[in-house]
Symmetry: C2
Subunit: 350 residues, 2 copies
DNA sequence: GCTCGGCGCTTTACCGCTTCACCGAACGGG
DNA sequence: CCCGTTCGGTGAAGCGGTAAAGCGCCGAGC
């Protein structure tokens, strides 16, 4: 080989705690302890070590750290939604924002994977955990009899379920009381005089959809309202529009509709206007989840407001507690609050 | 504490190659070689090892692997936006969806951190790279004279910049031609007869905002249109509304407005309607970036459509190429296409 | 017949860090 | 003055992999 040695600059040997130890004149162990704030090192030594580490530009090798049994300082979240749909839903970005805020304060990072279905999501958790890439997991979009729950339980991966305790098994839940909010909304609409209330729901199969379905039906029954079928959607504007059209063209047209998210509600508003209905005179609308969207349309939508950012933060905080080995029973967030705006009013006089 | 012992199941010791080796009756090294497709293992042994690995549910420990010099199989993305704003912008979730899709096909994961400013973003990259947590990075929201560019260059971290080459230095850019799209839009509006076109832009300081500003100004000059001031916003609905109000109440009220994102455009539509203007009769609106939002409002908005999902996918693919050590010049995506809808029409007869 | 080379596998030696067991010196109470 | 404690610190032993070198064994070539 007469080839010139490749220009591959030498891998730039990074400084290790051994280097620091040699320079300062102490053992590796002391350096490790000093850098991790562990006891057993005098303040003077600690300071010297800090200085040398700084000037060497030392960065600890987390691989080695993880190998010796320390934490990975990351938690995993596998989102099971068709990737293209995520963009439309403010919910997840807000949730992630809240999660991130808490994690970054603890210097934890978030491993995020968007997967097509729950099996692949489970695979991701399994891989991350197996590789010791994460110390804990967050689970969302809980389904009835969700296979991921027993699987994660068995793996022994500290997990926080963002969803109702009824589906979280022995995993730790962080949830809000959707049933109460549903009931409150129905009562509010009934108080305005509505007797035919429609519901455009989210994906069947999701635990919270079922809970809202039940609470909605129960509330209607209790208040003696005419039962209307609930229409399920995939949360997109298209399906929201279709569902609304279906409800409004049925013989028992509702005078009010409760939507499971903001996107379907906004789409529903457009459909109503297309059909020549004036909101809220002819039709009242309520959106679940408030977002800038609801206030940007005319009329602004009455919405079930909750602080999703805080919700995510609570979940992250609970997970960190769990990872630290401290006991926690989970966290019940505030129920969403009804924020009346311009899209609700008494029904038209029969 | 008379509390029942917590369900904390034991840390669930995971199988290692040593376990497999013991069971199969070979050395760790043979297992390692077999599992990695290295030569030096007979097919028979290889098969036995595969079987045992499978039934043990073996997952290789990437920490140990990384320690011995292999890849981390992850890339990093630090988003520098106030966390609360993310939820409102479909752009990022779509982008992340596209990135994720490509990464997950390659079994790469995405390390995501939402940070408050660019310095902290840089810190995240530095930490990840130092810890060998990532093999490459994605950079977004490029600023003029962005300090992160030289820093990442110096670190030697393979990086793809999602943004115009003019700001990406020696890093690999993936971009689309915003200037062309801006010009096309102005020409379209001018062809309709508009002579006073307003612009509600994004954050000053971002490279793509500046590029659009320049292209917009140049197009107006070339076409001999009346110059109007560009109003900058932070992409939120509130600022979009304020900017629109300012433009519409100015003595030189524009007859058409071009917005830098969908949220501000939708907010602008509401403001126009509040002020008693009918869109598109009295005012034409164009949104940059199409999303379900633009089609859910009335009238549906004329928008600059681009496939953000694909954009993210291209970026991820380019980064993987870079990481693999194969050469790449970056990738120029299609320029956004103008999709005319109901929000644009000729201006009112003067 | 003896060397040589390749195959299939093992042994050895780390990678950088943490945990564990232990140790000497200083201190302080009885 | 002695003994138990605390403090500040050390050395060795891995964590789970991988790279490199070594080692029988076999068939081929001179």
């Amino acid at each position: 080989m007469e080839q010139v040695s490749p220009q591959q600059s030498p891998p730039a040997k990074r400084p290790t705690i051994a280097d620091i130890a040699r320079i300062v004149g102490v053992s590796k162990v002391s350096v490790s302890n000093a850098l991790n704030g562990q006891p057993g090192v005098s303040d003077a030594t600690r300071a010297k070590i800090a200085v040398v580490a700084e000037e060497l530009g030392f960065v600890r090798n987390s691989a080695a750290r993880a190998l010796s049994g320390a934490k990975a300082a990351a938690v995993g979240l596998a989102l099971c939604r068709p990737a293209r749909m995520l963009g439309t839903e403010p919910f997840f970005m807000e949730l992630i924002g809240g999660i991130e805020q808490v994690l970054s304060e603890a210097s934890y990072s978030l491993a995020l994977q968007v997967v097509s279905d729950h099996e692949r999501g489970l695979e991701a958790y399994r891989r991350w955990w197996g590789e010791r890439h994460i110390d804990g997991a967050l689970l969302v979009d809980l389904r009835r009899d969700d296979a991921r729950v027993p699987a994660l339980e068995e793996m022994g991966l500290p997990t926080v379920v963002i969803g109702h305790p009824s589906g979280s098994g022995r995993l730790t839940p962080v949830w809000s009381d959707d049933a109460a909010a549903t009931r409150e909304t129905v009562e509010y609409l009934a108080a305005l005089g509505h007797r035919r209330i429609g519901r455009v729901a989210g994906l069947t199969g999701l635990v919270h959809t079922a809970l809202r379905d039940e609470a909605f039906a129960a509330a209607c029954t209790d208040l003696g309202l005419d039962p209307l079928p609930t229409v399920h959607t995939d949360y997109t504007g298209e399906e929201g529009a279709r569902a609304t059209r279906r409800l409004l063209l049925s013989p028992t047209r509702p005078t009010a509709i409760l939507y499971d998210n903001d996107i379907t509600a906004v789409a529903g508003l457009s459909v109503a206007q297309e059909l020549g209905l004036t909101v809220p005179r002819d039709l009242s609308l309520v959106a679940w989840d408030d977002s800038p969207l609801t206030q940007v349309v005319r009329p602004p939508l009455t919405a079930l407001t909750r602080d999703i950012h805080a919700y995510g933060a609570h979940a992250a905080r609970t997970l960190l507690t769990l990872i630290a080995g401290r006991p926690t029973d989970g966290y019940q967030d505030h129920a969403p609050q009804l924020t009346p705006r311009g899209s609700t009013a008494p029904p038209p006089a029969a």
